[in-house]
Amino acid sequence: MNIVRTLKGRFAAVIIGIVLAFLSLILIFIIYFTKLSDAISDLYVLDSYYFVKVLAPESTMPSINDLLLQSGIVIWMVVTLSISTSLPIFFILRDYYKMNSIRTIMRLPIPKTFYYLDKLLPPVILNSVLWAMQFVFFSQAERVYLSEVPDVKIPADIPVMFWSSAPANNLCPIESPTNMLVVISFLILLPAVVILFTLAQRSRIRGIFSGLVAICGGFVALSYLMEFPFSLWIVPAAAVIVIISGIWHVNRIQIV
């Protein structure tokens, strides 16, 4: 069995996604670097006597977080995660519309959970790679900031504050391992919600329960993004519930 050819579409989508995300991230890094350079040059004034640029005593350096927000990293993360999360919709609907291959898949004598995992894993892998990319981006942005900005102009709390304030703390809460678990759950929850909702929609009236679970899962994901005040443990709990519901749905509810 040429499994590679069977999975080719998913592989291609993940690889293309990674390449496009990487290229756009490089563009964002260039924007960040340009803004950083501009901010650094604004720190200097021309000494009228010696005709050399010297640090202006009253000038202040914008914080790294401000520069990151201006560079568009948050928008990049939202856009790339949205596209990655939407991938399963395309793959599931392709099984129905392009060819009706869902009818072959569903009569195979194998656990239907494989079908669910086949749709869930590509966006989870892509989301994980995207997360790793933006983590590297934050690390490099911090390193460049600390090395390029004159020491006297570096805000005193930057090295301490960077990883513990927005946007870095939301996207990369590496300072708190518990919160990392929440982020991992969030990256899994997003595609799981989309898959469950798409399957529920295919099952029409029989998919009402799954649809409601998916909507609740979506609300939890949105609440996490909007930093609503609730226990962060609701995100991993929601991810587990939505995945279990998805597996239950493909096994128990008619999706053909």
Partner: protein, 245 residues
């Protein structure tokens, strides 16, 4: 034995099947006939678990159909249910890996018979070729019950007629073929039993032997069973002419 007992299927407010009780024995070739919307495809969908049952039970050798029993049922339809990115050869390998009783020789023989390309991806095949491949895979799966739902909708008459002749020589005595089609004339010498559906119900279930013993022709018997109005065409044309004048 594949048995449906008082099976009802509904799609929202519309009925797909209503209290259908029917049994298929090994070795039978059964033709499922009926008008559009009579429930032929729904009957097959219900057996395969594609359509949820509102009422009734479907059993295979007395037990509810479980996941591993699915290998004993094969299916082909004109709806193109294969994988668009795979070639015929890939499909063969895939089916071999999924269905241990896959009959490779039968597959090769039928591929040669239809002269189908082995290395062309399915989406590049014509609609008729896709139907042929789907039927070949269903017949080669090694299933005990082979369900064919309008398998040759996109094929020419020569391919269809020759195929039925070849098929008679290929089937094992224990294999049960359940065939749904509108092309009654073409398969009337091929099927051994006829099930007639009308408005989601089984209205007749007769063996061809019974028809012969009673001196009945399949087509005329079906017309009687359906209460076919032979004056229908004449009446319509007459009404049309009167309206025109």
């Amino acid at each position: 034995m594949l048995e449906m007992k008082k099976v009802s299927v509904s799609y929202g407010i519309s009925t797909g099947l209503k209290e259908v009780t029917i049994a298929f024995q090994p070795g039978e070739i059964v033709g499922i006939f009926g008008e559009n919307g009579a429930g032929k495809s729904t009957l097959m969908n219900a057996i395969l678990g594609f359509s949820p049952l509102k009422e009734g039970t479907i059993t295979l050798d007395g037990r509810k159909i479980r996941r591993k029993d699915l290998a004993r049922l094969s299916y082909a339809s004109s709806e193109h249910t294969l994988f668009p990115m795979l070639t015929a050869r890939d499909h063969k390998e895939f089916f071999q890996s999924m269905f241990p009783r896959f009959i490779s020789k039968r597959y090769d023989f039928l591929m040669n018979f239809f002269a189908l390309p082995q290395d062309l991806v399915v989406r590049s095949m014509s609609s008729g070729q896709q139907n042929q491949l789907e039927t070949i895979l269903a017949l080669s799966q090694g299933a005990d019950y082979i369900l064919l739902d309008e398998p040759f909708a996109g094929n020419d008459i020569f391919n269809r007629e020759d195929f039925y002749k070849v098929l008679l020589g290929l089937l094992e005595p224990t294999e049960c073929l359940i065939l749904s089609t509108h092309l009654i004339e073409e398969i009337k010498h091929f099927v051994g039993r006829v099930v007639l559906l009308k408005k989601t119900k089984v209205i007749a279930d007769r063996s061809c032997e019974w028809l012969e013993e009673n001196g009945l022709d399949l087509v005329s018997w079906m017309r009687d069973a359906y209460h076919y109005d032979e004056q229908r065409v004449g009446k319509t044309l007459q009404a049309f002419q009167e309206d025109k004048e």
